[in-house]
Symmetry: C2
Subunit: 208 residues, 2 copies
């Protein structure tokens, strides 16, 4: 769902390092991408890297902040528009993921998955600060879903036995899992299919 942007066109080298790291790691993996490759893509001399960042990990933490800000602005704000009905917001969340990752698939030939989910899987046991940053993003994201589910419960749209918090984590888990399966399949179809089935299972018979 979260995604990285096109090549950096900003002029300051620090920002170019951040966006280059975001893009290269999203397309590959944390371990597969070295400081040298990031510097080359950013057009920054490797010798200057440590003037800007003490380590690759520090750069990646900055890159995660920057990806998150963009995702909040361009993805979450539209999906969780209070003008939409709760069900439409959850549908919009899955649809945004489907559209975004289909676009990336067309451009790069690969489904790259969620930058946060990817790092959770690859680096959680190896880099505690990265795990923390990913968890923070997941918690913020879940809070938006939880508000939506609370609204739907108050409106009597959902089984009152459901917990808003648990359902919110479950929905984020389902989206993250859908992105993971779509990455394994290199095909975004399952994001759409899983999104529809999930909404159907929650809201029941009503046609979208």
């Amino acid at each position: 769902m979260v995604t990285t942007t096109a090549p950096p066109e900003v002029s300051d080298p620090r920002s170019r390092l951040v966006s280059s790291a975001a893009e290269l790691i999203h397309a590959g993996s944390y371990r597969a991408v070295g400081v040298k490759a990031i510097c080359e893509k950013a057009g920054v001399k490797k010798g200057s890297f440590y003037y800007f960042f003490p380590s690759k990990e520090a750069l990646v933490l900055d890159a995660l902040d920057s990806i998150w800000e963009e995702f909040e602005r361009d993805g979450l704000r539209a999906s969780f528009d209070p003008g939409l009905a709760p069900r439409q917001r959850i549908e919009a969340m899955f649809d945004h993921a489907y559209q975004t990752h289909s676009r990336i698939r067309r451009r790069t030939g690969h489904v790259l998955g969620c930058p946060f989910g990817n790092l959770a899987a690859e680096a959680s046991t190896l880099n505690e600060p990265i795990r923390d940053r990913v968890l923070m993003a997941f918690a913020e994201w879940t809070a938006l879903i939880e508000e939506t589910i609370e609204e739907a419960l108050r409106a009597g749209e959902l089984d009152p036995a459901l917990s808003a918090e648990a359902t919110a984590w479950s929905l984020l888990g389902t989206l993250q899992g859908a992105l993971l399966l779509s990455k394994a399949a290199n095909d975004t179809g399952c994001i759409r299919v899983i999104g529809r089935e999930t909404v159907e299972a929650l809201w029941g018979g009503a046609v979208a």
Copy 2:
């Protein structure tokens, strides 16, 4: 859900390389673990490695086969016991994941996640044969879930608007996502919570 086993005690060096690779990569990542470390753990001279395997990738494909066989035997067979009602099978699948990963968490201090899910996230864009092997495992797993959902649909337990295939992918996605979130949180609680909410959302009001 899938998990790797204790240190190798088998005597042949090829099997020791396979189980050492499975264990080290599960605890770290594909890229973070080199042939040298695998050989050291297996007690095999690095010079002999290429007598057994042409590459680390080839070894990892063998390790995935071996993890999958064990998971089929010890995890899937019990969860998808035809003697259980469909709902109980899905509950057993989530419960097996919760129990297994809680045990690993107690032993290692970390939630390590699903070895297949981890590799899907880390290596899908970098190693096509690994991506293929992971996808094959996901497809076999989904087939078992799909049979279960078909049975529940035939018994009239579920909303007839649901597609068995889509629901099966959705359930595997949800479990994979739950494992990913639990790895990010280093806490298995969300596997249990998400499992319960998912079963509740599908089967509705009835108390488990």
